[in-house]
């Protein structure tokens, strides 16, 4: 029993295996693996093979508009990816968008989770209201932000400005063209609106898993709210903040819908997914699109490694 437990640290208690003979064990191993194999093989074929193909194509000179010139290109696609002004810009846009959206929605999400962790009248309703933005189809949400909120002539934002100025008897309210004046910010605000609920949900789950008796004891000992937050709540929340931040980063790096809908990649807002989409779907430059894709993967591996480490620490705690 103890040997089986040692081999799978953190696993659920395993049934003691019969270790009578190699052949018997091997066949029972395969019986155990059998239910896993369809999912595993399916995942490897559908998700891993395309990446291998992308890697191969990234070293090829391949543009569908010039079918006669297909051939080995060496690293020239990578050189052009890293020297191309537009692609370099889209790398910075991706980083900026991800950092801003993740940080702001984490901070907002934490504030709101702290508010919702208290008991008050209508807490369930407020929680439901908070979740709603996350349950709007991203394209639909982006359309609503673009046409119904940001529109300079009849959008809700400028409409509200007109109304407020009207209250003070002014008929000359500011009517900014939000998307033109701050294209990247417009996308980021809409994304923050949709992703704050995600962060809030994860952090609220973190808050509610706090050991309450310890906090009540600290309360009794006269610790201030700030002290309790700083020295007890925050350290406990840290791994939930990491988890929310990293998962959020993985989704935001890949964001395509908002860029496509709100600016169609114009006004300097094209991020890497949108640029790759353009390179392969519109320019049919398969070689460069693949090289850009590989660059994105390399960039994501860093975030993904950190994310996997955080998930695995939570996972070990849960199964301990």
């Amino acid at each position: 029993m103890s040997t089986t437990l040692e081999r799978a640290p953190g696993g659920p208690p395993q049934t003691p295996e019969v270790r009578s003979g190699g052949a018997l064990r091997r066949s029972s191993d395969w019986a155990r693996r059998a239910p896993l194999l369809p999912a595993l093989i399916f995942t490897i074929v559908i998700t891993q093979l395309p990446f291998v193909a992308t890697l191969v194509i990234s070293f090829m000179n391949w543009n569908a508009y010039y079918p006669d010139e297909i051939g080995f290109a060496g690293i020239s696609n990578y050189v052009s990816v890293l020297t191309d002004e537009n692609i370099r810009h889209s790398i910075f846009v991706t980083i900026e968008m991800t950092v801003v959206v993740v940080l702001v929605s984490l901070l907002l999400g934490m504030g709101i989770a702290l508010l919702l962790d208290r008991k008050f009248r209508g807490r369930g309703i407020v929680r439901t209201m908070m979740i709603t933005p996350f349950l709007i189809v991203p394209v639909a949400a982006a359309l609503v932000w673009k046409h119904a909120l940001y529109n300079p002539e009849y959008g809700l934002l400028n409409g509200t400005l007109t109304w407020i100025w009207g209250l003070f008897g002014s008929d000359n309210p500011p009517q900014p063209d939000w998307i033109t004046q701050g294209p990247l910010l417009s996308i980021e605000v809409a994304l923050i609106w949709q992703w704050t609920p995600f962060m809030m949900l994860i952090l609220l789950a973190g808050l509610q898993s706090r050991p309450l008796d310890v906090i009540e004891a600290a309360n009794l000992d006269g610790a201030s709210s700030w002290q309790i937050f700083r020295y007890m709540t925050f350290p406990h929340l840290r791994q939930y903040l990491e988890l929310g931040g990293l998962l959020g980063a993985i989704y935001i790096v890949q964001n395509f819908d908002y860029v496509f809908t709100i600016t169609s990649g114009g006004l300097g807002t094209a991020n890497l997914p949108y640029t790759i989409y353009q390179l392969f779907y519109q320019a049919h430059d398969y070689g460069r699109a693949s090289a850009t894709g590989v660059v994105v993967v390399i960039g994501t591996i860093l975030i993904a490694t950190l994310a996997l480490r955080t998930v695995s620490s939570l996972f070990r705690e849960e199964t301990r």
Binding site: R7, A8, G10, G11, P12, T15, P38, A39, L40, F42, Q48, L49, T54, I57, I112, L115, R118, F120, G122, V126, T128, M129, I131, T132, P133, L135, I136, V137, A140, A141, W145, H147, A148, E153, L156, G159, T160, T196, P197, L201, I202, D213, Y240, L243, L247, I250, Q254, F256, F260, F280, Y281, S290, V294, V296, V297, L308, S312, L314, F315, E318
Partner: protein, 297 residues
């Protein structure tokens, strides 16, 4: 010990006498509750505005300042569903439904046995397998899209809903494996062993011991997979055209302005989001678990 916990947390400044379950301090509680209400309201305003605008006439939808009390009409919905000409959204909604439901069924068929082999009778190195599944979710979709597109082009699968079904299955499988594992891990293994010793057959064991624990988990997993498939745009946009286009692809037709069409856009956005809203509120309690890939309960 019990005396301290009973007496301790009740502060002397407590105001709400009639609420015995409230343990936290109430001072400042009103201000914070108000703040929560205001913030919650601000977050839901775009959705409320979308719904309200969708029931206004186009002329009332495009006023500045906004006309909140304008008469309600179904004009926007009639226009969206094709009364004013233009392509009908029904085929795309049907495609979305097909792709989301069938991919969810496939996901469950693959994920439940896999989760069984990762929890109840775990294979060796099962944690490594779990993290392999998770790692596939972290690689950006867009980087593998081109070979899939080329493959579909060669094999004639472009604009075929089955291609999307297979891709959505692979997109959601890691989430489903992680979620289902965490639910199956709650099945009492001792009871399974006792049942097999008592000679209970497999169907009996499944229906009486496993199902009651796992059914809510299956429901939550399906709803979350459904939502992710329904929302997906990038693959649907690049791999489908007129035949297999899904609802999000149909919505991209509204990206450029077309005169007075705000009520129609809002009606479209609301109709397309409605299944997700329903599924999301139904899965509300398990939403975090799904979104965090089962890492948070």
């Amino acid at each position: 010990m019990s005396a301290t916990t009973d007496v301790g947390p009740v502060p002397a400044t407590r105001t709400q006498q009639g609420a015995p379950r409230r343990k936290r301090r109430e001072r400042g509680g009103f201000g914070l509750a108000l703040a929560a209400w205001v913030i919650g309201f601000l977050f839901v305003v775009p959705v409320l505005w979308m719904v309200l605008t969708s029931f206004h006439s186009e002329a009332d939808a495009a006023t500045n300042p906004p006309s909140l009390a304008a008469p309600l009409t179904l004009e926007g919905y009639r226009n969206f569903f094709g009364a004013g000409g233009g392509p009908s959204p029904w085929p795309s909604l049907a495609n979305s439904l097909t792709a989301s439901v069938l991919s969810t069924v496939l996901v469950l068929l693959l994920a439940i046995p896999a989760a069984y082999a990762l929890s109840i009778k775990p294979v060796r190195k099962w944690t490594d397998v779990m993290f392999f599944f998770l790692s596939t979710k972290m690689l950006p979709l867009v980087a593998g899209l081109l070979p899939i597109y080329l493959f579909a082009q060669v094999s004639g699968l472009l604009d075929n809903i089955w291609l999307l079904i297979v891709l959505y299955t692979s997109m959601n499988l890691p989430i489903a494996v992680w979620m289902m594992r965490s639910f199956l891990a709650e099945v009492p293994v001792e009871m399974l062993e006792a049942a097999s010793m008592d000679g209970a057959n497999l169907t009996r064991t499944l229906s009486q011991i496993v199902a009651p624990v796992v059914m809510p988990g299956i429901a939550a997993t399906s709803l979350i997979c459904f939502i992710f498939s329904w929302n997906e745009l990038l693959m649907a946009r690049t791999l489908t055209a007129t035949v297999a286009e899904t609802a999000p692809v149909y919505l991209t037709g509204f990206v450029t302005s077309q005169g007075l069409f705000l009520a129609k856009v809002c009606a479209a956005a609301f109709v397309v989001s409605l299944p997700v809203l329903i599924a999301g509120f139904a899965a509300q309690d398990k939403l975090v678990q799904g979104l965090s890939l089962g890492a948070v309960k």
